[in-house]
C-alpha cells in the first residue's frame, strides 16, 4: 500500500526537492524578480495612457500591485511556510514569465496600439469584461454547465453500456460494430438536421449532440477494452465457478477500466469542442452562445474573456477526471 501512496504523491516530490535548495538561500530570488515583473506591469498600466480607453485599468494595476507585494513578502518568508513556500518556489519561473508577459501585453496593445482594437485586447480589457458582464457570464456558465453535464453524463452512461455489450457479446458486436464504425467518424454536429426532427426542444437536441460527441469515444474504447481482456482471467473465473454475469461485472469491467478512462478523456475534449455548436441551436444563454453573439458584434475582448473561462472549466473537469482515475486505477501503478 505504501508503494501506491508514494507513487500517488510522486507529483509532490519535485517541488519539495527544489525547496531544499531554497532553504540554503535566505531570500527567494525568483520571488523578487517576479515582484519586479508584476510591479512593472502595474506601472506600465497606470503610467502610460491607453490609445483607446478600455476601462478597468485602475483595477488591473491594483491587482498586479497586490501580487507584486505578495511575491516580495513571500521572497523573505518563503522558508517559513513549508507547503505554500514549496509551491511558490516551484512555480517561481512561471510567476516571473507571467509578469513579463502582462507588461509586454499591456505595451503592445493598449499603450502603443501595435495590436489594435477590436482584434486584440489588453489584459485590463479582459478584466473589464469580467467586471461589466459578471452576471451575464455567470448565467452563461450555469447554462453551459447544465447542458454539458446532462449531455456528457447521458453520453458516457449509454456509451459505456453499449461498449460493454459490444465487447462482450458476439451477436451484439456482429450487428453493432459495423454501425459504430460507420457512425463513429461522422462529426456529432452533422446530426443537427435530424435532431431537429427527433427532439421536442432545441435544448434536448443540444444535449443529444453533446452526448453523441462524448459517447462515441467511450463506446469504442470500452468495447475494445472489454474485448482485449486477458483470456486467462475468464478461464480463472469460469474454473472457480463464476457465471456470465460475474465474468462481465467482476472481470471484464474492471479489467477494461484503463481503456474506458482513455475514452472518457477523449469524450471530454470532444464534448467541449461541440458545446459552442450545440449552443447554436436556439439557445438563449451559454458560453458558446455568448461567444457567437459577441463575435457577430466584433466584441472580441468578450470572446477572449469567455474562451479563457471555457478553457479553465475544461481544465478543471479534466483535473477532476484525473483524480477519479488515480483513485480507481491505483492498482495499475505497477504497470505504468
Amino acid at each position: 500500500m505504501s508503494n501506491v501512496t508514494q507513487a500517488l504523491d510522486a507529483g509532490a516530490v519535485a517541488p519539495s526537492r527544489i525547496s531544499l535548495r531554497g532553504v540554503q538561500q535566505a531570500i527567494w530570488t525568483n520571488g523578487l524578480l517576479a515582484a519586479a515583473a508584476w510591479a512593472a506591469a502595474a506601472l506600465v498600466t497606470v503610467a502610460l495612457p491607453d490609445v483607446v480607453p478600455w476601462g478597468s485599468s485602475g483595477l488591473f494595476a491594483a491587482i498586479t500591485t497586490a501580487a507584486a507585494v505578495a511575491f516580495a513578502v513571500l521572497a523573505f518568508v518563503v522558508n517559513r511556510l513549508p507547503r505554500l513556500g514549496a509551491g511558490a518556489v516551484h512555480y517561481g519561473p512561471w510567476l516571473i514569465a507571467i509578469g513579463v508577459w502582462l507588461a509586454l501585453w499591456e505595451l503592445t496593445t493598449a499603450k502603443f496600439g501595435w495590436l489594435p482594437k477590436p482584434f486584440f485586447s489588453p489584459p485590463h480589457g479582459l478584466l473589464n469584461v469580467y467586471v461589466t458582464e459578471t452576471l451575464r457570464l455567470l448565467t452563461c456558465i450555469g447554462y453551459t454547465l447544465r447542458l454539458w453535464s446532462l449531455g456528457f453524463a447521458s453520453g458516457i452512461v449509454v456509451g459505456y453500456a453499449v461498449g460493454v455489450a459490444l465487447g462482450w457479446s458476439k451477436r451484439f458486436s456482429y450487428w453493432g460494430m459495423p454501425i459504430l464504425k460507420l457512425i463513429g467518424p461522422v462529426p456529432a454536429t452533422a446530426w443537427i438536421p435530424c435532431t431537429f426532427f427527433f427532439f421536442p426542444t432545441t435544448f434536448a437536441a443540444s444535449v443529444f449532440i453533446v452526448a453523441l460527441a462524448s459517447g462515441i469515444p467511450v463506446t469504442i474504447l470500452t468495447s475494445s477494452g472489454v474485448a482485449s481482456v486477458n483470456r486467462s482471467y475468464y478461464d480463472v473465473g469460469r474454473n472457480l465457478g463464476a457465471g456470465d454475469w460475474y465474468l462481465v461485472s467482476r472481470i471484464a469491467i474492471p479489467a477494461s477500466l484503463p481503456h474506458v478512462f482513455v475514452g472518457l478523456f477523449m469524450g471530454l475534449y470532444y464534448s467541449f469542442a461541440v458545446l459552442v455548436v450545440a449552443e447554436m441551436l436556439g439557445a438563449k444563454y451559454g458560453l458558446g452562445w455568448y461567444i457567437q453573439f459577441q463575435t457577430a458584434y466584433s466584441g472580441y475582448a468578450n470572446v477572449y474573456a469567455t474562451l479563457i473561462i471555457m478553457a479553465l472549466l475544461c481544465a478543471g473537469i479534466v483535473k477532476l477526471l484525473f483524480v477519479a482515475r488515480d483513485r480507481l486505477l491505483s492498482w495499475q501503478k505497477g504497470f505504468i
Binding site: 500500500m1 482471467y233 465457478g241 474492471p254
Partner: protein, 266 residues
C-alpha cells in the same frame, strides 16, 4: 484425516470429497489452426487414483498443458472421455482447479479479494470469509491481504494463486508448471511447500512440468509424454517417502532413467 488434516482449512467443515479419481480414456485432441488440424494429443489413457500426485513430463509444446485444460473442463476433448469419480467432466468446476504458470491474479483486486474470488463467484463469501484468511495463512501471506498483485514478488504471487485455488477446497489440483517462472531458490521453497500442502489436504494432484527433478521430488508417479502429438511413452513409480531429497541416490538413478527416456526425443 482429522489429526493430519489441514488445521487452517478446517475452520469450515469440508463440503465435498477431499480427493477424486480421474480417468482419462482414449483422449485425442486437435486444434483448428486456420483450417488445418493440429493434433496435440493422441489416444491418451491414464488413470489417476484418488489422492495420488502424478507428474506429466514432456518436451515443451507437446500438449501437456492441453491435457490439463481438458481435465479441468475448460476445453472439451475432440475424441475420448474424461471422468472424475466416474462422472463425466463436462465443464469447469471449482472442485477441479487449474493453477497456471502465470499467477493470473486479477491486478485490480487486492490479494484478499483475489483469494476470495471462488467463494464470491459462487455467492458463499459472506458465510465463509474465514476460509480466505485461513488460505492466506496456509500459504504464508497473512500480512499481504491488502496488497495489490503488482506489489508481490513472483513467488508470493504464485502462493496467492495457490491460496485462491485451495480456498475452494479442491478435490483435484491441476498444476500447469506453476513454478516454471520462479527463480531457483523460490522454486525449491515452493516445491517443499507444495508437497506439504498436498500431504495435509490430501487432494489429487496432477503436475505438468518439464523439470525432471521437480517431477521426482513431488510426484508418486511420473508419466513421460512424447513430442507432439503427445502419447504416453513411459511411466515411473517414485516409491520414496516424503520429504524427499534431491541427492537421494535412488532418485538420482531414477532421474538418469527418465532423462534417457526423454533423451531419445530431444
Amino acid at each position: 484425516m482429522a489429526a493430519a488434516g489441514p488445521a487452517a482449512l478446517q475452520v469450515v467443515p469440508r463440503q465435498r470429497a477431499q480427493s477424486v479419481a480421474v480417468d482419462i480414456r482414449g483422449v485425442s485432441h486437435a486444434f483448428d489452426l486456420a483450417g488445418t488440424q493440429l493434433a496435440v494429443l493422441e489416444s491418451i489413457d491414464l488413470s489417476v487414483a484418488a489422492g495420488e500426485f502424478v507428474a506429466l513430463l514432456g518436451p515443451s509444446g507437446c500438449g501437456k498443458s492441453t491435457l490439463l485444460r481438458l481435465v479441468s473442463g475448460l476445453d472439451r476433448p475432440s475424441v475420448g472421455s474424461i471422468t472424475a469419480d466416474g462422472l463425466p467432466v463436462e465443464g469447469p468446476d471449482p472442485s477441479r482447479i487449474l493453477v497456471f504458470q502465470d499467477p493470473t491474479l486479477f491486478p485490480w483486486a487486492k490479494v484478499w479479494n483475489n483469494v476470495a474470488t471462488g467463494l464470491d463467484a459462487r455467492g458463499v463469501l459472506a458465510q465463509e470469509r474465514s476460509r480466505v484468511d485461513a488460505a492466506l495463512e496456509l500459504v504464508g501471506l497473512t500480512g499481504f491481504s491488502g496488497a495489490y498483485p503488482h506489489q508481490l514478488s513472483g513467488g508470493m504471487a504464485q502462493r496467492a494463486a495457490l491460496a485462491r485455488a485451495l480456498v475452494n477446497d479442491p478435490a483435484l489440483l491441476l498444476l500447469d508448471e506453476p513454478l516454471g517462472k520462479l527463480d531457483s531458490l523460490t522454486r525449491l521453497t515452493l516445491q517443499a511447500e507444495l508437497v506439504a500442502l498436498w500431504l495435509k489436504a490430501q487432494f489429487t494432484a496432477i503436475l505438468v512440468t518439464h523439470d525432471v527433478e521437480e517431477a521426482l521430488l513431488l510426484a508418486s508417479r511420473v508419466i513421460v509424454l512424447s513430442e507432439r502429438p503427445a502419447h504416453i511413452k513411459a511411466e515411473f513409480r517414485v516409491e520414496r517417502p516424503y520429504p524427499r531429497h534431491r541427492d537421494d541416490p535412488r532418485l538420482i538413478a531414477l532421474r538418469r532413467q527418465v532423462l534417457a527416456t526423454l533423451g531419445h526425443e530431444i
